[in-house]
Symmetry: D2
Subunit: 146 residues, 4 copies
């Protein structure tokens, strides 16, 4: 939780980062990013984190019929983001089991000084087969996750 | 275009109506309903218009693999809607062919006086088969449409 | 968590209920409701729960500039919902403080037998003033909440 | 309509381009990008097109209270996009008046061969002042548009 995201720098064990820009679609009449949309941002970041590991979800779905589904999400909203803001999303694997993985994700506001934490989440994603049944994560994926 | 929607009344040839409430998710930082979301509202209204005719899209998709996809949308935005507003959506079939149908849809603001036109659209929906190829609308649907 | 939602019946201490229909907009390529969209459903249900208590958010925003913002969300996804499914959303106030309230919300699938739990959440909503600063919930709201 | 988008190349009068990746949030149970979401993609592209011209909408909204709102959208859906697809969005100003501008936008699928046209739109955006009334586009914006 105190791990500082490092957008431009390249600290050694820095978590995987992904930029997100706030557009009109992301905001609500309160003038801020609508709370559900952080789950979209986190999902984009997870997808890119998987892609970086060579895990392509559409290809997997076509080949195996299986996919990751979120089984639990714990989200803390700390500060608000607004239209045109640039966010920096980080993703770290905190636990990996046979049937599910747990990720820690943060959204920071990129600005002149230090990044400001806006939102953070713990996400548990489980693997389901083509029938939607929870099952073991295919070995080919597990090999790439760790 | 001048056909007045008649929410509570029951005028004989009144187009099919469906209520939509504006929630936070529908608005943007301009304080109004985000323009893309009217396409969501129109789609809900089309789905209910189909359902009223006994056409259930999930069942059709499971049985035939086919579905309607929008091939063209022409939307005019007249006035803005805001959080908590109650809209009344109308749907009329204006043309029905072998492979596509065209609908006229309007969104009115319900309020004390006459309904106020917010947005209207002409939507062309084509039938595609399980492979995503445009094809004839199944007869079982055509029979229910007219 | 084992409190059964009772859609049509009128059990005395039944939590506030609100129906939600699943449309195309709510689903994703996995064929199920996209995980972030349950937060939209829960928000609609909270809005209606507030409205039933005479709390109108748009009016409050215009009068006071203040609004509720979600500061924490814990969501468990139990089963998936699909296109055309009818959900029943329940909302219960579990804690109310000076500056925030905590709600327990559930989404059940309505079907022939007993309702099936799909998703449940604990939501903490804090009041912020026109400047976006956390502050005391206005007394006029507190009076209506309890 | 026959103007070919040129993602990587640098043809002289090439329209402004912007990449969009398809995530789970963009798709629906048909396995394709939900039709309303192209309006989100086009809006991101317009925002970046404006930004390239030095027009920052959040800053303008804070300074003047005014903003562009879409008054008309004509959208043709040609082919479907799927999860993980990479799109290339182009934006060209086709008409600029005192109170509104008209843009032509296209979404192409980036792939090995020539880009494939997925969707194209003509969008009319009008300027409204802080009260939501249509009014002249501020000169400072007009100067940057042309």
């Amino acid at each position: 939780m105190s791990r500082v995201a490092a957008p431009p720098s390249g600290a050694e064990a820095a978590p995987f980062g992904w930029p997100v820009r706030v557009y009109w679609e992301d905001t609500d009449a309160g003038g801020i990013v609508y709370y559900a949309n952080y789950l979209k941002f986190f999902e984009r970041a997870r997808t890119e984190w998987l892609r970086e590991r060579g895990i392509h979800q559409q290809a997997l779905k076509l080949e195996t019929g299986g996919m990751f589904v979120v089984s639990e999400a714990r989200v803390k909203y700390v500060k608000s983001a607004r239209l045109d803001d640039e966010l920096w999303l980080t993703t770290s694997l905190t636990e990996s089991g046979r049937a599910a993985m747990t990720l820690h994700q943060q959204a920071h506001l990129k600005h002149a000084g230090a990044p400001v934490l806006l939102c953070e989440a713990t996400i548990r994603a489980s693997w389901v087969n083509a029938l939607g049944k929870p099952t073991r994560i295919p070995q080919v994926i597990l090999d790439k996750l760790l």
